[in-house]
Structure formats: C-alpha cells, structure tokens
Amino acid sequence: MPSIEAVNLSKKYGSFTALDSLNLKIEGAKCVGFLGPNGAGKTTTLKIFTDMIRPSAGHAMINGITVHEHKRKALAHCGALIETPEIYPSLTPSEALSMIAELRGVPHSDRSRRISEAIEEVKMEEWADKKVGKFSKGMKQRINIAAALLSEPDIILLDEPTTGLDPRGMSEVREIVRSLKQKSRLIFMSSHLLNEVSDVCDEVAMIDHGKLLVYDTLANVTSKFSGDGSDGSVEIGTLRPLDEEILKSNVASIPGVLSFERIDVKNARVRFSGGPESQERILVALVTMKIGLISFRPSSSALEDTYLNLIKDTL
C-alpha cells in the first residue's frame, strides 16, 4: 500500500520557522488535498519529500523509506511536480519526457507509448515536437505534469499544479487529477484554493504557519468544525469605508450574529447562526443601515468557513 509520512518534520530558514514539527501519515490509494494559504509551508513540505531541501529536524518517508537517506529508492515509485520547473528550451516535450522516461527506467518497449499517452493526457499533442523555449507558462506546466505521470508511479506529489494555468487549463488539470484517482494511487496535492481541494480530493490536510491543523476526510472536517451546519458567514462589501466602531455594535445587535470582523477598509465578514432566516435578517438590517452596501456574499460552504476559521486561529 502506498504511503507517505512526515515525522516531526521541521524546516528553518535562519531564525524563521517555515515548518514546525509536522506529523502526517497518509496511507492507501486516495487523493489528499494539502490545503493552506500562501506561505503556509506546503511547498517546503513537498520539497523535503523530494529531497530538494533538507529538513532541519525530523524526516520524510515514502513507502517507509527515508527520502534524504535513500533518495533513489524512496523516489523510485513517486512522481512529483514541485512549483514550476523549467525545461531546457532547446528540447521538445517528447525529448524532455524521454529523458525522464530513461532516467526512471521506463522499459524501452513502452517508452514511446507512455510518452505519447502522457502528452495526450495533458492535451499537448500538437506541440509534442516543438521546442519548449517558446511555450507559455501554462504549456510548460502541462509538460511538467506529464513528466510527473510518465512513469506511472503509485505516489504522485503535486504542488499547486494549476498555478499559471488559465481557467480552462485549471479545470483540465483537475480533470486529470480526478482521472488518476481511478488508478489506485496515492495523490497528495497542495493548493491554496479550497474549491479545488473539495472538488477533487477525498481527504484534506490543512496547514498554516508550518503547523498541521487537521487531517481527516472532507466530510469529517466539515462536520467536526461547523457545528450543526446552520452556522454560516457572509462577506459584505461597501461603497464607503466602514466605520468599525458604529457597525460593530449595530451589527452585533442583529439576532443570530456571532461576530463581525473587518477584512479591510470596505469589506467585512459577519458570522451567524440560525441558517438562512438569520442570513435574510442580516441582509435586511444592513440595507436599512445605509452603509453603502454593494455586495453580500455568503461563504460557499461549511468547509470554507472551517478553513477560514482554522487559519484565522493560527494568525
């Protein structure tokens, strides 16, 4: 059974702690989202898993093998895409992929089939024999994804694979990740986009400030942190700068409101309980206050609230 495990994994850059004793064990064929805001420590974690950087303490294991000590063995069954690598501009995608295929020991008889399948998977057939040098960032990222899938590894590490892609590219990549799931693999994909994780993953590990906040199935995380499901929050936007003092007391007096906090000068978040009835009352009250309300956006899901709640607490 494929597995990855971080044991007391820490990384310091000088005196700054980017990763703080992370403990996380993921086992079995599933897709796990590694969710956290920018700077949370996602890339740092994945770089340690691929031996691109050394941990300051602790260790990372793939299939029970410590990566830093036995890199070749540990990564033999693991394909990874970390950040956005560049490919030699003079090579074509076919050549770059065949370099990876050879290095990873894809059997000669299978090589060209796997390369063309991988290129097809990322929809780059037309470009297979053009030099990478003139490709856009999104096109290169597709080739990088193809490179990670090429050797048909049982563990795939993806670090924000949709960054740099246009909306259509993003949804295509999510589709690719979803299709990989059917092939009994362990996929560990980092993202700062909640909807991306809830779209494709079965489980979620949330991280912020280098600390693991929670690791569980999507359903459990949602129910564990959002009470009976009638809690919610809305983000409001106004035309004029918000006067926090006045608003805070006024809004807080609306029945059902749990908290009011300013996001910036013209935006604020209101948390409430009591379901849609409360939500309606709040909207009516805000309009009556004539604070210049121009937007009223309920958070899309309980999971989003959980995410926002969790990362707020670690600030």
Binding site: K47, M52, R72, H77, L103, N144, S151
Partner: protein, 290 residues
C-alpha cells in the same frame, strides 16, 4: 521487496537504471542541449575566427614568422592559442553549468526524480567535455592542416604531447569552472567569477608573485598549464632562469623566472581537477533547491 540499491523494480515494470547509467543518460541529453545552444556556435565561431586569422597571417607574412622548423610552427600556432581555446570552453560550458540550473530553474525538472545529484553533476560535466572536445577538435584539425601544408614530412612528437597536455588542462579547467558554478546560484555571477579568474586573475597573481614574492607559483593552474607551450620549445625551458636587470647604478635586482617541469605541470592540473571535482560535488549535494 528487494534490498538492492542498484536496481529497484517497481510493479509498473520500470527498472531504475544504476547511477552510472543515469550519468550516461544525463550526458546524452545534455549534449544535445549543448549542441543546440547559441553558446556552442559562438564558441565554434571564435575557434574558427582564431584559426582563420592565423591561417591568413601565415599565408600573408610567410611561415618563417614562426621560425624555421616544424616545431617552431606548432609552438607559434598551438602553443599560444590552445590554452586560450581551453579557457574559453571552460568558461562557456562550465561557467554556469550548475548555477544556471538554479537560476533558470531547469534543475528543478530533474532533481525531484530518483537520481543522485552527483549523477546530474557528472553527466553535465561529461557533456561539457564533449562539447569542448568538438571545439578543440576543429581547432586541432585546422592546426594540422596548416602544419602539414607547410611541413608535409612529419608532425613533431612534441605536438602530440602538447595535445595530450591540452586535454589534461581542459579536464582540469572544466573541473574548476564547474566548481565555481556550484558555488553560486546566479549564472551571470558565476560566469563573471570564472572569467575574472581564468582570463585575468591567475596571470595577475603570477605577475605579482614574480615581482614581490619570488617563489615558484606551483599553486596556480595557469602555471601548470604552461607545459602545453613549453613542450613545443626546443630545448625545453629550464626550471629556473635567473635574469639580472640593470638599475640606475649598474647592476639591478636579480629575478627568477620559473617554468614548470612536465611532471610538475601534470601534477598541478590533476590535483586541481581532483580537488575542485570533489568540492563541487559536495557543494552540489548539499545545495538546497529553495
């Protein structure tokens, strides 16, 4: 599960090649990358330009400008230019070989794979050597073509030795530039450092030592490489030459000029290679791809 660290069989049927085979694979693809690079053609152009200039000068002013014997010819032609070509190859192909992988982020494409960093380093080194050998090969061919045109009877055996020494110098200079390229993460900075060192630094230090310290500069790679030219002079220059200058009041100070012996020159170059190769590999193994 197998315990062998040499080959690792996966259930997908992939058999991870040995680290040595991976060096070969990296070399193969790096060579095709070098041969398509603008840099390679610029350097080829420089090699051809130097050759063309020499061919023209000899044709115009006559072969006697270099002397009367075939050895004089090879000394004048090869002895002066070969080390220059080597230095250019080392800078062009080695100056940012490793730093460029960081700066351009191309290193990130490979390091996440089951391959030792040293295999990448060594593979790139062999590719740089191959690219340099092509340039040097072209220059050698033109040298020989001219040499045989003017002195058809034979090629002096010293030229063969000089050629071998040039190869040793190339190996050593590439080791040195690879080392410097793994010291930095900026391409242009590491190229700058190798240019300053190889084109000016060594000779400046040698000059300063000659004027002030009066010791044999056995610790300078450029000093070791002087055997490339020295072997083409007959007789081989003496290890130490005393010259007395003339000052205002008659006899001036006495200077000692040093020439490396052949074993000494070879030892300097090989030690440079060994030390810089080990240091470069260790540095690259420890470097963080942040």
């Amino acid at each position: 599960m197998s315990n062998s660290s040499q080959t690792e069989e996966s259930k997908e049927g992939n058999i991870l090649p040995s680290s040595v085979s991976q060096v070969g694979i990296v070399t193969k693809y790096e060579i095709s990358n070098y041969f398509r690079s603008r840099r390679f053609f610029i350097l080829l152009g420089i090699g051809l330009a130097i050759s063309a200039l020499l061919t023209f000068l000899i044709a115009h002013y006559g072969v006697s400008s270099f002397g009367t014997t075939s050895l004089d010819f090879y000394s004048g032609w090869w002895g002066r230019s070969a080390t220059f070509i080597v230095v250019f190859c080392a800078i062009f192909f080695g100056g940012d070989a490793i730093s460029g992988e960081f700066q351009n982020k191309t290193g990130y494409f490979l390091v996440g794979n089951p391959i030792r960093r040293s295999s990448i380093y060594i593979g790139k080194w062999f590719a740089a050597l191959a690219a340099s050998l092509i340039i040097l090969g072209v220059f050698t061919a033109i040298t020989l073509a001219n040499g045989l045109y003017y002195f058809p009877s034979s090629v002096p055996y010293q030229f063969e030795e000089s050629f071998v020494f040039t190869l040793v110098y190339l190996i050593s200079a590439l080791g040195l530039t690879f080392f410097f390229s793994s010291l930095f993460k900026s391409s242009s900075f590491s190229i700058l450092v190798t240019v300053i060192l190889l084109l000016f630094g060594f000779s400046l230090i040698e000059e300063l030592i000659f004027v002030f310290a009066h010791i044999e500069p056995w610790f300078l790679l450029s000093y070791g490489s002087e055997i490339v030219g020295d072997i083409l002079t007959n007789p081989y220059p003496q290890h130490t030459i005393q010259t007395t200058g003339f000052g205002p009041g008659g006899r001036g100070p006495t200077f000692t000029t040093y020439n490396p012996t052949i074993p000494e020159g070879l030892a300097i170059m090989l030690i440079y290679f060994t030390v810089t190769a080990v240091l470069g590999l260790v540095l690259f193994e420890r470097k963080e791809f942040t």
